[in-house]
Amino acid sequence: MNPQTNELWFTYVTPFQVLLANADSGTLGLSINRGGDFILERLVAVSTGTFKTQIGDGGISLNFTSDLVDSRLMFGTAQLWMPVIPAYRFPANGSIAYRVVDLSGAGNTIQLGFIGRIVGIGTAQPQASTGHPKSQSASAPPPGGFVSADAALAAFHHR
C-alpha cells in the first residue's frame, strides 16, 4: 500500500465461470469488501471461447453498456488491457455486477479481471488522489460516482 495516498493496487477477479454452449450465467456479483472504495481502471479477461458480457455497479443496478457486448470489444489482456475512462468508483461494500453469455456454441471457461485501486483504506471518508478538479474540490465523493482516469490513460499510452 502507498502510505502517502492510502491506495492499494488491487484486482478483483471472478471465479472461473464454466458455461455450457450458448449458456447465460445471469447477473452475478463480486463484492467490494477490502476495506475501501475501489476505483476500476482496467478490464481484462481470459476465456476458452468468445462470449458476450455486460458489467456494471451492482449496488445501484447501473450497467456500463447499453446491452450485452462482445467480449472482444470490452475486455483486453494483461499486455493490452482495456482502459476504463473515466475510471469508475465502486463504494466499499458495494459490488461489481457481471453477466457472461457464451457465443462459441461450445463449453466456455471464463475469468474476468477488474484491475484498479482501493482507496481510503481504514478511513471514514475515502478520498481518491485523482488529480481531477472535481475530485479535488469534493470533500467526500459520492459512492458510485465517477473519477478522472488521467493516470489510467497516461499508463495506457506508456504501456
Partner: protein, 134 residues
C-alpha cells in the same frame, strides 16, 4: 481544457497530456449491432440519456466494413466518406482513441453508418465508448 487544446495543436507530441481532459460523466459504452447484407449500407442511431463525451470506438465483425460517425447537432462532418473499419475502430486490446472528445448533447442523435465491403453477409458489433453525464 487549455492545456488539452494546446497539446492538440502541438503535433510533435506523441503522447497526449490528458491532465485536463474534459471527461465529464461516467464510463459508458453504447452497443450498436449491424446485420449487413452484401455491400449493404445501414444507419443506426441512438440518443444518449444525457451529455455523452465520446472518446473512442471498438468494433468486431465477420467481414470488412467501412463506417462513418455523425452527430446530429454538429453540422460539420467528421468524415468526408466512410473509412474502413480497421482505421476507425480498434478492439478492447487497442481501442481507437479519438483525436479529441466528441460531445453529443442530450438532444443529439449519434448516427453510425456502416457499409459492407466483404460482398457477403456481415455482422458488425460496434461499441461507442465515452463518458455519460446525466
Amino acid at each position: 481544457m487549455n492545456s488539452w487544446l494546446a497539446n492538440r495543436r502541438d503535433t510533435r507530441r506523441r503522447v497526449v497530456d490528458t491532465s485536463s481532459f474534459p471527461f465529464l460523466g461516467r464510463f459508458f459504452g453504447q452497443v450498436v449491432v449491424f446485420n449487413l447484407a452484401a455491400l449493404d449500407t445501414e444507419d443506426q442511431q441512438f440518443r444518449p440519456r444525457g451529455q455523452f463525451n465520446i472518446w473512442g470506438f471498438t468494433a468486431q465483425s465477420t467481414g470488412l466494413f467501412a463506417v462513418e460517425i455523425k452527430i446530429s447537432g454538429f453540422k460539420g462532418k467528421r468524415f468526408n466518406r466512410a473509412m474502413v473499419s480497421g482505421n476507425t475502430a480498434g478492439t478492447a486490446q487497442r481501442p481507437f482513441f479519438l483525436p479529441e472528445v466528441l460531445t453529443a448533447e442530450p438532444d443529439d442523435d449519434v448516427v453510425i453508418s456502416a457499409v459492407d465491403l466483404s460482398a457477403a453477409a456481415n455482422t458488425v458489433n460496434f461499441l461507442v465508448l465515452g463518458a455519460l453525464n446525466g
